[in-house]
Symmetry: C2
């Protein structure tokens, strides 16, 4: 496996090019021993020449893809893809909280960053540095196949012949499945958490209402408030009734309009935070992309480890079982988690054995 | 059991006072035999003197309560209370579709309207003829205890010493429990479908988002659109993932903004219909009242038959079991239904045996 140097301009806060980051942080570099290898972090913007023809028929020109790879030089590469709010920064040793997988991936955590290189990118159509609808009058519908195509271009650009695995959760799991169907020779296995071969109509119902809310708010000239409400609703679907029951059984407080309930304060605070960090039109695009997702499980010949969460309201365990029955080479692991659909962000211990196999000396 | 004539002004489309309605309809009166007794329908507006002090501390003056009673003269009276969208017209032989329980109650249907008198009323704070927030600058928070108090006043007004039962589903079940706790000598038993002694925080989450949506839309000067969106979301919580999976697995259509999904068309159509028939502020008041509901199950000494629906997303079967464990005299019946929380509107066959016991010649 080789890598070409990356000469594209930097667009993120982190410096472009090869940066040695010690596990203990930039200010106090830890000694580099075999046990604490230097983590290389590289970021870049891949400019894609010409025009892309998208899965649902739209076209996009001048697409730029923001990517990041972090890990020990020459370690096997694992593409790691999260939900529609995730981005290229999977983990960071310099600013741990800036990584979307900070509870799971990092030095000493469940995901062995010391033995694998983690590749990721900002999704097409989202709120990150990759091309998205921001400011555009119209933007085409994006498929999980389109994201898979961009990942292929990224592998070609970086000279990565084959990925050790794609770990995809939620929307990332859909992209992993799309990639596995199209490019089986470029990935050895898929680990798919809380994502199926098609979207459940009940979860489409909840997302469709979210999109309607955002569009209504845009139409009223108050887009961020619509995004706040949509995210508040989304948060309730990401977690389990059991968690909410344990956390939010308290009494309501008097508010400006009648009573405000503990769970309401929580959801609105999460929504407000989200609305400061994401774009309404990027949210609309990727939310729709989830609902458009449909792959042919019978044609995915890459081995798949599917992880289903029994408390997941968005991806029912029955849908995961049905997909695994259709996949030619798959095994299913069912776990229980108070965090429901968000389990992949939280359940480090349950996921750890799966990651341990990835970094074994098989290659 | 006696009844006084009602001399209050009519407010509904149906004529006030005693009206003989033949089961087969007004235009073709069926012969009155012992098997097809004449159904008496009476409606009225009860004007409550003075000021009401409400459970949550607010006050309301000049309250008017719109009520309806239908059934054979001198038959036992059953108060029948539905969800926050229900109203005093439980069933109608003249215009069957105008009754909110039209799939369950009516001549020849599961609920034996030939042998019981059905009493109901428009909820305080809703969109019906009973006093509500319509047009008011502010309206107090309403408790299920307040509805129970109004039912007591109605019984006194009509000279009904004791109800054979209260059948309450969803919000109506909460009102039944509140009544049972406060006025055990005025009702022989409660039949409570899909309602517990307290509200689950996950269902509060979904309703809180609905209320925020409506208030946002009011603030934008487009209240009916907010109500449409809120109802669209509510509808998804009333049904089960299994039903949506069976009905809405089809492909999306191209719309003005990207794709529109089958379940989205359904929800928006239901929401649009709702928004033409209900008031945003009435919705806000009763939606909040659900979330404020909390009764002391240990102090409800009236016998309770609780009916729980395993697929109910709003009232988990675990909450119904926990309530039944706290109730001094209760039995639990669990049913399965594709209709989830809406099962009480649809599952006539499952409910029929419970109703049959009610109309037995025990009294």
């Amino acid at each position: 496996m080789t890598e070409r140097p990356d000469n594209l301009p930097a667009t993120s806060a982190e410096p472009l090019g090869s940066t040695a980051v010690a596990p203990a942080g930039a200010h106090e570099p830890a000694p580099t021993t075999p046990d604490t290898p230097v983590l290389q972090v590289r970021e870049g913007l891949l400019e894609i020449p010409g025009e892309l023809t998208l899965h649902h028929g739209g076209r996009l020109g001048a697409v730029r893809l923001a990517w990041r790879i972090a890990g020990p030089a020459n370690a096997p590469v694992v593409a790691t893809l999260g939900g529609i709010s995730a981005h290229r920064r999977v983990y960071s040793t310099e600013a741990p909280q800036s990584g979307w997988w900070h509870d799971v991936a990092g030095p000493g955590l469940a995901f062995p960053v010391e033995r694998l290189r983690v590749l990721s990118f900002d999704y097409l159509g989202g709120s990150g540095e990759t091309t998205g609808p921001r400011g555009a009058a119209a933007f085409p519908s994006i498929s999980s196949y389109d994201q898979a195509d961009l990942l292929l271009r990224l592998l070609n650009h970086l000279g990565i012949k084959s990925l050790r695995a794609i770990i995809g959760a939620s929307y990332g799991g859909m992209v992993a499945l799309a990639f596995g169907e199209r490019y089986p020779d470029r990935v050895a296995q898929l680990i798919v958490v809380s994502a199926a071969d098609r979207t459940h109509p009940m979860s489409t119902a909840w997302r469709a209402v979210q999109r309607r809310m955002v569009r209504f708010a845009i139409d009223c000239g108050r887009p961020q408030e619509g995004l706040q409400l949509a995210r508040a609703l989304a948060m309730s679907t990401y977690r389990s009734p059991e968690e909410f029951s344990a956390r939010f059984g308290g009494t309501p407080r008097a508010g400006e309009h009648g009573f405000v309930f503990p769970v309401e304060d929580y959801l609105m605070a999460r929504g407000a935070d989200y609305a400061t960090r994401y774009q309404p039109d990027g949210f609309l695009c990727l939310s729709e992309s989830i609902d458009l997702h449909r792959v042919d499980a019978g044609r995915i010949f890459v081995p798949v480890t599917a992880v289903a969460v029994r408390e997941d309201q968005l991806v029912p365990v029955a849908d995961m079982r049905a997909m695994v029955a259709r996949l030619p080479h798959a095994k299913l692991q069912e776990i229980s988690s108070l965090y429901g659909h968000d389990a992949f962000l939280k359940e480090a211990e349950a996921l750890k054995p799966i990651f341990a196999k990835l970094s074994g000396a098989r290659e």
